[in-house]
Amino acid sequence: MLRKASSFPEEMLEHVLSFITSDKDRNAVSLVCKSWYEIERWCRKRIFVGNCYAVRPEMVIRRFPELRSVELKGKPHFADFDLVPDGWGGCVYPWIAALATAYPLLEEIKLKRMVVSDESLEVIAKSFKNFKVLVLSSCEGFSTDGLAAVAANCRNLRGLDLRESEVDDPSGQWLSRFPDSFTSLASLNISCLGAEVSFSALERLVGRCPDLKSLRLNHAVPLDKLANLLRGAPQLVELGTGAYSAELQPDVFSNLAGAFSGCKELRSLSGFWNVFPGYLPAVYPVCSGLTSLNLRDANIQGADLIKLVSQCRSLQRLWVLDYIEDIGLEELAACCKDLTELRVFPSDPYGAEPNVSLTERGLVSVSEGCPKLQSVLYFCRQMTNAALVTIAKNSPRMTCFRLCIIEPRAPDYQTLQPLDLGFGAIVENYKDLRRLSLSGLLTDRVFEYIGTYAKKLEMLSVAFAGDSDMGLHHVLSGCAKLCKLEIRDCPFGDNALLANAAKLETMRSLWMSSCSVSFRACKLLGQKMPRLNVEVIDERGPPDLRPENCPVEKLYIYRTIAGPRFDMPGFVWTMNGDSV
């Protein structure tokens, strides 16, 4: 067969690639052929490494000599629920040290669920002359000393975002380390900081940075000072307020309302800790322009909450506590037709009895009223198959659906049946579903549905579900695009895992805790699959002191070309070739 000559003008590839920026597309381009691989790697500017142990920094550096932005993720997602013991890993220092030598022109570092030491921050601060953006999302291990180093040295810093990180706060003075000549800040998120920050330093900083568009304060910034800050930055697009409490004082209120009125560009609001309802009207002037509202930390309830939300007619994203109740969600569905993302968090998850009237009806209302709904995270205490089927039919654009029925294994409360059919309808109707979390009473049947229909599913979270290995087998053999699978407390064991061993190399990672995977299976898997790291995490002690068929406590399997890691703590064992 005569092969056609390539039609693509290779001399133009680099220029064409300058318009292709998504990681997925760049990865696809690099796998087309040898010459494209070469051209692509020389002009790649951003890299995303979903698992810091999947590849070694030296490998990245060798392959991509011109990086300007590096994004890394460390611990598995279930670390958010304290299922990953402290000390497991995810230490970023080796990466930072390598990047510091290799990329003096590096501009951005974004880290998620990693352990970041002050030393790492100091290296970042001193190594990259043109450093612009630092994002530490759900990270830990550093203090404000590290932040002070960044503030003092990064002359061109544009963004510092500490979202949801744990920061040790020996001194609140680090903000003053930004020199007076420093004016480039565009984004600052310090909402996670526990202690006071120097307000005068903050005020001066905000006042001298004309490009500041995003400012998320921590709860220690009091209400009466907020107005001053706002007047110094009327160009703000995103604002996270500090604590919103205090007795209602008319002058503070009017000052605040006036300041908010001046912020004509404001599109996103968050914060509202300890909100005193009387102050809420101060934000009404900006409500009609808001596209994003995050009230997960706000204890506003009842009519106050509904009134606030219903004024935000342009809302696309809403994060709120279940104080909103079914009635508030009905109102939301009526007012906010552009809603794409809804997250409803539980105000009292451990209470034996429901403290609010939030049921499946609220979510049904929203699905009926908001046709653009794409992403849902919903905590509730009861659900029915019928409701799920309705929700499935109403929201064709859904890409992320996470339902969390608080009581494990709760059945359809009306029929007492498992929720297999409901979730089955979800996966059958949501053709573009990429992320799914299950809850409630579920048998192997639901996994059969998932394996059959969820062809674009990339991430699946499962707990207290299924009857047997068939459940796991359906998922692993059916979900072609599966990338991350996390499972806890399910009766899945060796058979499905070993039968689908090859599948694991096509995924980023698999987490299984409190399941029935034996130590022998782990060893076998580790032995047979050199491109997987099979980590047994067991705080009971070394697994080979117990019988081989004994289930391991936790299992974390991830594909890697870096080989086994050397930084494991005493309760983690990697199953590899010769250790079997």
């Binding site: 003008p9 064409v16 629920f81 002690g541 005493g570």
Partner: protein
């Protein structure tokens, strides 16, 4: 008639033309304002004085075929008119790039050689849109590109770990050590086989791995029993779990686990030793191919010293009588039936309210 009169009556006669020779040798006249829109032609005319007559026609680069030149002229003819709105131009551009992929490729190349940046960007963006969202196979198919990346190249194999000089040294040491151990094994009497009962299930498992198609429908009653038992445990666990408020103290899991008679220190030291042993073994991954070539020259002396010291440490561990130590430790440790612990996450509530036992 005056010159001006002539211009009014017959404006075409006063229009300037530029002589252009396309790659097929044909020579044509192109309106000046249209042709000069291309920087390359502009340069030839202004700096080299070409294009004023048939004899000194501007010669177009090879990448500009007559068909492409014609297209490019259409583009220039439209855009060189000053009065158009942005909306008009955008609309024209969108329609203009709608053509088959092959032509689009040619056009991109042609525009580039004429240095017509706006058209280069327009066509490049169009090509980018074609590439976006496609798999490598699809891209190859569309542009007739060869599939010449090997499996190894696609994955960057473990082989590359040998680039780290320390690992290479360690590999060599372990290779030697392994050899010695193997010799010793051959001389010794080998221990009796493992439990025959277990072998069968191992074979089954191996057949799964090796792609046994008939491995479906593995519902055993044994599994069901296990699950029911666990369910009962599960029912009790959540309600009995105490709610911890400090993250540091929240390892109720670990406190539940450690109610064994094994000495904490011993356990941790055992863990450490095992870990080191594991690490030592792991470094020597069987798929890695190490060369016997002397690589010591590539390492600087200070680093080499450090490596030598590390290598000695590892050697010491390897030399310890592992089987005997294991017996020692086993006799000290208590033999316990592992209870299946329901790990209900914890009760700790982080500031940002992430939830414990629930998958999100």
């Amino acid at each position: 008639m005056s010159e001006v009169d002539m211009a009014v009556i017959k404006p075409e006669m006063m229009k300037s033309y530029i002589w252009i020779q396309t790659s097929d040798g044909a020579i044509q006249q192109v309106e000046q304002e249209v042709a000069m829109f291309c920087p390359m032609i502009c340069q030839e005319v202004i700096h080299k004085g070409m294009g004023s007559s048939k004899n000194c026609a501007v010669s177009l680069p090879q990448r500009v075929s007559p068909a492409m030149f014609s297209l490019i002229l259409d583009y220039c003819r439209f855009h060189q008119v000053p009065g158009r709105s942005n909306k008009e131009r955008k609309s024209f551009d969108e329609k203009f790039v709608r053509m088959d992929t092959k032509r689009l490729c040619e056009l991109t190349s042609a525009a580039d050689s004429l240095q017509l940046k706006p058209l280069v960007d327009l066509t490049s963006r169009a090509l980018a849109r074609i590439i976006e969202g496609k798999t490598p196979e699809e891209i190859r198919e569309i542009f007739h590109l060869p599939d010449d990346l090997t499996e190894e190249e696609k994955l960057e194999p473990l082989k590359n770990t040998t680039d780290d000089p320390r690992i290479r040294l360690l590999n060599r040491l372990y290779a030697k050590k392994r050899k010695e151990l193997k010799e010793r094994e051959k001389l010794k009497d080998v221990e009796a086989e493992e439990d025959h009962v277990d072998d069968r299930s191992v074979d089954d498992l191996l057949s799964f791995i090796n792609g046994g198609e008939d491995s479906k429908g593995i519902k055993t009653s044994k599994n069901k029993k296990k699950h029911r038992k666990r369910k009962d445990l599960q029912k009790c666990a959540p309600s009995n779990e105490a709610i911890e408020t400090h993250k540091k103290e929240s390892n109720t899991v670990s406190s539940l686990c450690h109610n064994v008679g094994v000495d904490q220190k011993l356990k941790s030291s055992l863990g450490e030793t095992l870990k080191l042993q594991d690490a030592a073994d792991e470094v020597f991954a069987p798929t890695v191919e190490f060369d016997d070539v002397d690589i010591d020259d590539e390492i600087d002396p200070a680093l080499k010293e450090e490596i030598d010291r590390e290598v000695e440490d590892f050697a010491r561990i390897l030399n310890s009588d592992w089987p005997e130590r294991m017996q020692e430790l086993l006799s000290l440790g208590q033999e316990r039936r592992p209870t299946h612990l329901s790990v209900n996450g914890n009760g700790a509530l982080k500031g940002h309210g992430s939830m414990p036992s629930f998958p999100l």
